[in-house]
């Protein structure tokens, strides 16, 4: 199966290890992975801030970059939701681009959604000792309706305990420019999220959106709480490597 990776600007620039983990995991499960170099940001920052012309420019470039793709997989629930939901509406009045946008939208999957629902991965050989909790990001949960999939993947990691996060459905306070424009409110929201994470006594926080995780990790760091933060793919891949080194220890 041929899979094109939409890495997202955030992961490209700040968290390349997430993209690398996705590449390795998809390959392990038989995918032929490619990365169209002409890809840009999905346009969500512009769209959510009301700059729809600029969002359209980004969307067109992304649609062009992926025009030959069969499946498009992204390690961000939020960016995948942007494409699936808002690309078709962005071009609702544009006869030339409307269908292209819809066709592209139909090909886009969030990583865990793709692993579980398309590749039908039921188990990954991985192990990782620790107590984790999972943050359900808003756009992934409400925008794409993905809830079980990442949890299912986490459950395959041996040695990993997953504690339920209280108020798991509540926003972490990121919200793109919201975090800067309404910084005081955003700070209260992320603080509350940090409190809930701490109440689980987890030493690992897992999520499927690096933007939310960047927000929460930034606050955890500022407050000096030693919780390790991982994207699902990253933790899975880390677990796979650990599993393999246990199976065939280096001599």
């Amino acid at each position: 199966m041929r899979v094109s990776l939409f890495i997202t600007c955030l992961s490209d620039c700040f968290f390349p290890r997430v993209g690398q983990a996705v590449v390795h995991l998809l390959r392990r499960h038989g995918c032929d992975v490619d990365f169209p170099l002409e890809q840009v940001c999905c346009g969500q920052p512009a769209y959510n801030s009301g700059y729809h012309e600029e969002a359209r420019t980004a969307a067109k470039q992304l649609i062009r970059a992926f025009k030959n793709a069969q499946y498009v997989v992204s390690p961000s629930g939020s960016c995948a939701a942007m494409i699936r939901h808002y690309y078709p509406t962005l071009f609702a009045a544009d006869d030339e681009w409307r269908d292209k946008a819809q066709q592209f939208a139909d090909k886009v999957y969030e990583f865990s959604q793709f692993m579980v629902n398309i590749l039908k991965v039921s188990s990954v050989d991985a192990c990782y000792e620790g107590r984790a909790t999972y943050h359900h990001s808003c756009h992934m949960m409400r925008g794409l309706g993905i809830y079980q999939e990442p949890l299912q993947l986490l459950q395959t990691i041996k040695g990993l305990e997953v504690a339920e996060l209280p108020y798991e459905q509540d926003c972490c306070g990121f919200g793109g420019t919201f975090a800067v424009k309404m910084k005081e409110i955003s700070e209260q929201m992320v603080d509350e999220k940090v409190e809930h994470i701490r109440s689980t006594q987890a030493d690992i926080l897992v999520g499927s959106d690096m933007a939310c995780l960047m927000n929460i990790e930034g606050r955890l760091k500022r407050l000096g709480y030693p919780v390790k933060v991982f994207h699902v793919a990253e933790l899975l891949y880390e677990g796979v490597q650990r599993y393999e080194s246990v199976q065939s220890p280096a001599v």
Partner: protein, 477 residues
Amino acid sequence: MSLSNPLPFKERVEQALNDPFLRQSLKNAQARFREGKQKAGQALGNLEEWRTRAEAIRRHTIEHLDYYLDLFATNVEKNGGTVFFAETEQEAVEYLIRLAKAKQAQTVIKSKSMVSEETHVNHRLEEIGVEAIESDLGEYIIQLAKEMPSHIIAPAIHKNRKQIAQLFSAVAGEELPEDTSALTRFARHQLRDKFLNANIGISGCNFAVAETGSIVLVSNEGNARLTTTLPKTHVVMMGMERIVPTWEDLDAVLSLLPRSATGQKITSYVTALTGPRRENDQDGPEEMHVIIVDNGRSNALGTDYQSILHCIRCGACLNVCPVYRHIGGHAYGSVYPGPIGAVLTPVLKGFDQWEELPYASSLCGACTEACPVKIPLHDMLIDLRRDEVGQKRSPWIERLAFRLFGAAMKYPALYRLGLKMAKYLLRPQAGEEGFLNKGPGPLKAWTQARDFPAPAPESFREWWERQGRHGGEPHGR
């Protein structure tokens, strides 16, 4: 906080964030309402079907609003009532004032009506020497405190028992115990006389049934019944969107309203009124006046915002909103707080005073998910931002930034250059662990509360071109 909060939005927010009592009260209330709603939803079983049906009813009604308004008005008049269409706030209040003067009213008793808040009725009546008394406990409390409601369903949700006892003690002239039943008893006692002496009763209207010209009121206190039956004149103030076509339609929305609001199956009182007292009736008012208020609502018709008129004012969107939880209703500065207010107020009143409201949301979508009539609230907030940008209301620096963003999206080479520049600019400022604790521009705001990660030494695309496409190597942390 007075009725017209003169502070700018930022300061209203700050005021709220620095009020630990307020925040604790809101947190508790939200937890209670949310739990109630969840249970009620589970008990209903097929909640999604109900939502779909309710949405269809609301959509149909609003799409044919003039037809149903006309039908409703005709039926009210057939029942012996009088209907007045008020296009503006002024027209609504002036009608009421003319009526109060004609009746030589000294006291009016009121039962919760958002529209009368919206049109500042109490204040205007006071100006002509008419005493207006709120008869709902919550409304009475905030009237004493000279505040606006801070929640659609529970206007005094931000007050704790201690604060209420203080307010009541001031009226009583003696110290009252901080005990719920004692406080309620006191309020009842205070209000009893007012009910008997009021010349006019003013109520809101949860739903108006077009096919019979009836008014339906939903409440948990008996006061709505007293307000609408004891005084000789009953005035209904309703938004023009409150209509449902038939009693069967009412059933659907009425099933969802209390469940979404407080988690109740049904409220203690559901009052339906069809016209004033008839010849053989035992009680009821001699006259019934229905003021149907537009006050900006028709701005929404035929626009992207039309479905905001579907709202049944249940407050469910407030109960799940994390922003509302932290700042409370008053910070929104308008009669309608929370996500519904952030959309409705600019639609009714324009952006001039309300341009911040569409940004008072992280777009998490919890409101949209909670709304029993499926109003896409967070999408509308984005549309409002789009309109503001279109009117060049956003800061110039932001417009410039997004123009650059647009250029970078058009030319991927420019985009790649941008990512590279970010790396060279930010990496040197990072600490040992690769995080910045202060930064330039928008990062300054970010790093007030959180660290910011430095761009990675090698971007994903650099890795991909170097070796990723050929298989790469396992990564480590």
